[in-house]
Amino acid sequence: MKALSALLATLFALAIWQLIVTLTGLPRFILPGPALVAETWWANRALIAEHTWVTALEVVLGLAIGSTLGVATALHLASSPAARVLVQPILVFTQALPVFALAPILTLWLGFGLWSKVFMAVLIIYFPITSSFFDGLMRTPPGYLDLARTMQASPARILWHIRIPAALPSLASGLRLAGVYAPIGAVIGEWVGASRGLGYLMLLANGRAKTDLMFASLLTLGVFAVLLHVTVVWLTRRLLLEETTNSRNEISA
């Protein structure tokens, strides 16, 4: 049912696209039709695949590093009041800076290669992951904490057995956001300075009025982002939520 609705929506969007091209009679270097874009995509499939691979690697590395850093920061903030006083305002301030504005300096520091884009993705997902997991850790139901205190539990064990599992659904929503943001970070990094990646390819095609190739790259990026989102949702369900929901008892019973 879900697959059918996705298919219908795709066909509908393609039909509207074709309709606009036919009705307006725009030249192909302004707005190419879906058939031409598909043809260009097929003709350039090796080129597009090569650049997709680069972007995908940047995104996945960025997600892995950003999530690890975010989780570590949230745990540290949640267990240390001193860290909350010192670090939290800094975090909020850095988040108020537009990350895009940092892209040129990152390229200057880290070069034109892979790492400036990875770092861009890390920067853009670090805050959503940190803040969602941290909020979850600070919102443990107070009754659990009272119970744990009457059981003479140490703060570290309360964190491990109660606060972290209770915060996993919040972490999962942070990770889902991160899955959406990470490709944006990588592509911005590629726009600022790169010689590989889908963002670079789009910029290159655009500059040479190869609008059909630009659209082919753009659609590839879109499909990649959707697949990434679906994968992240599936993974968080699989790894984090099944253990913490009470509606799926048959799995571990």
Binding site: Y144, L147, R149, M151, Q152, R157, A166, S252
Partner: protein, 242 residues
């Protein structure tokens, strides 16, 4: 477990300068059930939290002492109206929460005995979401028993259950908590009349000791003396409220 001590709380509490309850003395007889009855907002739960050493948000002037002069707070097991079961953990893991939180090995023989005592052996691998309200409260009871503490504090533990489940839980709880010093906080006169070996009524002016039926607990639900006590308690509570 060593012999359960008696516990005495004396003092008064206030919130932002406004008195919550006047200076009072509440003493729990060693190895007996004490019922503390009162309407909402008179500080019943605060009293219980003071004994268990939990934060209350009220300023307390006074002391909590045990008859054997040892500290009280670390010899307390606590059970609340909310069963406080961890939804991601199985029944068995919930029951052994205390030892998991202290990093101790669980006495598995004891765990199996307690699970069978409360009739949960067949449900040990399930998660709380798959259980009924009464079953969940039995898991909470098993977790309290597993703690093996001499002082048991029950904060309206049965008030979210329906009438027949509640009366069955009262009998089961009395049955498994023999020898411990128990304080049960409740707003239900019937519960106090059935379970109290001492009954106190808490009002803003202080606590008032109330005569309790003489028969052993849990008293039958159709025991005449118990029903009279229940009626008299309800009358007293209603006088106290406008």
């Amino acid at each position: 477990m060593t012999d359960a001590p008696g516990v005495t709380l004396q003092g008064g509490a206030s919130i932002n300068g406004a008195p919550l309850f006047a200076p009072l003395v509440l003493s729990l007889n060693a190895g007996e059930w004490t019922c503390l009855l009162g309407g909402s907002g008179v500080g019943k739960s605060t009293l219980l939290r003071l004994i268990s050493g939990l934060a209350t948000g009220a300023k307390f002037d006074g002391s909590v002492t045990a008859s054997d002069a040892l500290p009280v707070a670390d010899r307390v097991a606590y059970m609340a109206q909310d069963d406080l079961l961890l939804p991601w953990a199985t029944v068995r893991q919930n029951v052994q929460l205390g030892s998991r939180l202290r990093g101790e090995d669980t006495d598995t023989g004891r765990l199996a005995r307690i699970l069978s005592q409360v009739g949960l052996t067949d449900h040990a691998g399930k998660k709380p979401g798959a259980l009924s309200g009464g079953q969940r409260q039995r898991v909470a009871l098993a977790r309290t028993l597993m703690e093996d503490k001499p002082i048991i504090l029950l904060d309206e533990p049965f008030s979210s259950l329906d009438a027949q489940t509640r009366s069955a839980m009262q009998e089961l709880t009395v049955d498994v908590l023999r020898g411990q010093t128990v304080l049960i906080v409740t707003h239900d006169p019937a519960e106090a009349a059935r379970l109290g070996q001492s009954i106190f009524v808490l009002r803003p002016a202080g606590v008032q000791r109330f005569p309790h039926p003489t028969s052993p607990i849990p008293r039958p639900i159709d025991d005449l003396q118990t029903l009279e006590c229940q009626a008299a308690l309800l009358k007293l509570l209603r006088e106290g409220s406008p």
